[in-house]
Subunit: 142 residues, 6 copies
Amino acid sequence: MVRLTRREHFNAAHRLFRPEYSDEKNLEVFGKCSNPNWHGHNYTLYITVEGEVDPETGFVANLKQLSQLIRDLVINQLDHKNINIEVGFMRGKLASTENLAIGIWEELAGPVAGLGTSLYAVRVEETENNAAEYLGNKTNNQ
Amino acid sequence: MVRLTRREHFNAAHRLFRPEYSDEKNLEVFGKCSNPNWHGHNYTLYITVEGEVDPETGFVANLKQLSQLIRDLVINQLDHKNINIEVGFMRGKLASTENLAIGIWEELAGPVAGLGTSLYAVRVEETENNAAEYLGNKTNNQ
Amino acid sequence: MVRLTRREHFNAAHRLFRPEYSDEKNLEVFGKCSNPNWHGHNYTLYITVEGEVDPETGFVANLKQLSQLIRDLVINQLDHKNINIEVGFMRGKLASTENLAIGIWEELAGPVAGLGTSLYAVRVEETENNAAEYLGNKTNNQ
Amino acid sequence: MVRLTRREHFNAAHRLFRPEYSDEKNLEVFGKCSNPNWHGHNYTLYITVEGEVDPETGFVANLKQLSQLIRDLVINQLDHKNINIEVGFMRGKLASTENLAIGIWEELAGPVAGLGTSLYAVRVEETENNAAEYLGNKTNNQ
Amino acid sequence: MVRLTRREHFNAAHRLFRPEYSDEKNLEVFGKCSNPNWHGHNYTLYITVEGEVDPETGFVANLKQLSQLIRDLVINQLDHKNINIEVGFMRGKLASTENLAIGIWEELAGPVAGLGTSLYAVRVEETENNAAEYLGNKTNNQ
Amino acid sequence: MVRLTRREHFNAAHRLFRPEYSDEKNLEVFGKCSNPNWHGHNYTLYITVEGEVDPETGFVANLKQLSQLIRDLVINQLDHKNINIEVGFMRGKLASTENLAIGIWEELAGPVAGLGTSLYAVRVEETENNAAEYLGNKTNNQ
């Protein structure tokens, strides 16, 4: 088993808040990330798949196909968008890095299996200081 | 003469558009950066000052004071904000990296002189791929 | 379960040596890291916590609180300090990257639990070339 | 148990292709990586070992010895070389990042054990966007 | 006047040698870079243009057009190629970083002027340790 | 004229203070950098030379020779050392980044000329946030 990681990027706006909270409560819980006029980030996305090496190609997965899949299914939905109001898979969820990682996992796990490999991890870096990683709903979570 | 550079960060939302343009015209000129729902970036800011080394301190400028000045006068206005609608010195200007570099120069040039040194350059990186640098209105521009 | 990682920095001096060794023996075992006049590093610290996403906030942990905890309990002890002679939790230990990772784990594991999440990993990078990672005393170590 | 990671670099030429394929078939399967005139990369290599901390030295492994071992056994074979035609342990294999990670593991696993520690992972970054990681043939693969 | 910098990447093979030298002489002058079987790099390219900010767009140059120009005229010639034998503008020249910077300048200076701005600098990074920068044949070289 | 930049590293301890100041005064002027027990950094050094490209080699300077020169004359004096008490060219000077840049310039300017090229700039990065650059005592300082 070898793990293969592909890095992609997207730039997006977002806001952390609960609509039922007052502005003061949102500020207290979410800090400056609750700014009603939005802010944004250069997000870095690391998609890791895991599988056996195909002896015909030397690949766990074809990186060109994997990159295209990530762009078609994830980057196109997120890049230069407002995560709170324009991204289908984030509708009704808080636009946190954690929820982004889970949401992207759910977009990709099935299609990645269609490439003949398994999704192992989704890592989303909001900044160089903050990152969330989701490894799926494994029984023996690693 | 020695140049001293301080790096700071801010995360902000923005949009490139002209209000008198149609959405189609904005899309044509500014591409996906014209998204009406905003997008955002992790901006990196490099402020370079130039001067003689003070023999008493070994400093061209006190970096703690310089960093505090940049945070008070620039970062506080920009961080976790919407550049188009919340930043005084960008009002009425297109929220491009170029205009950010010029605007930040104008905020800092006077106060930096108050620290006993000269502003040499303002460099704004919107992403690792795109950066603008302004060196002021020098006659013999370097 | 999602993992959340926060990066922090500290700059410190240290020396690798055993007091009962001669200078020659220290040099033989620890190389130039044994220099009696000290040397130092810009350390990068990655603290990873693991837990369920809180549906109220979208967070595994509040990053502002987590960052404050790391600064209060770890960075304040280490930043601009001499690791061998000024850091309580390193007293009597060799100032290696490995021991730093274990020592920081022990400082943080309890307080992180107080934030309602679990410490998953402590990674200390001494330089871009050298890093140590400690995942605690797990029975099924991952 | 602590994990210790050492980063090393090598610059090499390679080509992805199967000799029994036509040029068209190679282009279809391997894309521009099949260019018959070669291309190349600055590869970054991360070698992670895992073990108990030696109370005498504070080390899981002596990094100077580990680095020397990696250079002697791996970097010397790969740096400024053509991976397809000059590297013994890659002979007869596709010169993919995945196969490099496995090949380097096989070169290092035994000698690393000779340093009194265990090889935990071999990570090869072909570019900042593409990386393969091999953790050996563990029964309970982590 | 504002400077605008766009970063692009290419991966290529090359070799430093003079055909009239013996292998020994090439090794003596060019070191391991003279390997007859080639080696390669992940090159990073920084193209800097300089001009007035257009008040209609806030741009010194349209970065999408600039990036497209660099890709069409430079990256397409170099990416996944052998610099010594496949790149028109390097024919008959030593494949050094310095000559790459000059050659890329000559490819781009005219077309960049066609975008209504001026080429200011071409910077080529062969590795993170080695870079060449060419600022053109300015009388008052800066 | 082409500029060629070589990056090198050194890890060192230092302290900012004036011996005639009280500890309180040192703390007031130099902040936590005045810690009497030292602290340290991973310094990054960028040496830029400028010259014509030699048509025989394609080089402004032989990077292997340039790197060796920097290591012999500068890195060997600084790496794993205490800048205040072990580095000849810093004796009697405040161990600031500015003074390091000037001191390294003075060590290298003559020997670099001996390689048939000119020293253009010395840049010292103390951290990723703080850097000093010295371009020598040019009449028309650029």
